[in-house]
């Protein structure tokens, strides 16, 4: 999926519509998120510290998934006309550094009274399809 912002209107959306894009979780992404957010917890920022944990390595921030969902909704589903009202997150499994993941959204429900859609949002391991982070977003579609 490219970096062009889609412009899908409420009327054009159907239950079951999907959008997705792949991301490689690099050291740089994790470092950038740590510095941007100010969360410098060593489980995420220090490989030597992470090596001594049950994960054997430092792991990515779960909240990075929230930023990926921001891109999903703001760029693709529905894109330009989205106004995110809420986003739930469930951290099912850690996201490891160098993992290839797929960020996916699927429209579960349209709420006509408020031009709002309910979207299932997931970050999946690209190879195993295991859901690493799940959640639901309520998104008002402004046009």
């Amino acid at each position: 999926m490219d970096n062009e912002c889609r412009s899908i209107t409420y009327r054009e959306i159907s239950v079951g519509d999907q959008a997705s894009f792949p991301i490689k979780i690099t050291d740089q992404l994790v470092d950038d998120f740590g510095h941007y957010s100010g969360n410098l917890n060593p489980l995420h920022m220090d490989e030597a510290y992470g090596a001594k944990t049950e994960f054997s390595h430092r792991i990515a921030f779960g909240m990075m998934a929230g930023s990926f969902f921001s891109r999903l909704l703001g760029m693709y589903l529905p894109g330009e006309y989205s106004l995110c009202l809420s986003q739930t997150l469930q951290f099912h499994h850690p996201i490891m550094i160098n993992a290839d993941v797929v960020v996916r959204g699927e429209v579960l429900q349209k709420i006509d009274a408020f031009n709002t859609i309910l979207v299932r949002t997931t970050v999946e391991d690209a190879a195993t399809k295991k859901v690493l982070v799940g959640g639901e977003a309520l998104v008002k579609v402004l046009k």
Partner: protein
């Protein structure tokens, strides 16, 4: 009725026994604009009904919502 009360209780974070017909945004701080949308989302899903904007905005109290759902749903037992 009990299902609707449980939905309100869950979304608004208040005990089921506090859900009375005169419950409204005026006397319930957690019934804000976001939770109003969440309530409609949950009710439409649970009772398999759809509301228009005017209908949703006309429902000012829990009692109004009960009447609205009752008029729309064959699955409502109240």
């Amino acid at each position: 009725m009990e299902t609707l009360k449980k939905t309100f209780s869950s979304v608004l974070g208040i005990p089921v026994e506090k859900i009375t017909p005169d419950l409204s945004p005026e006397n319930t701080p957690s019934w804000d604009s976001l939770n109003a949308i969440v309530l409609i989302t949950e009710i439409e899903k649970t009772f398999k009904v759809k509301f228009g904007y005017d209908e949703a905005m006309a429902a000012k109290t829990f009692g109004d919502v009960v009447a609205l759902v009752k008029s729309k749903s064959t699955e409502f037992h109240g």
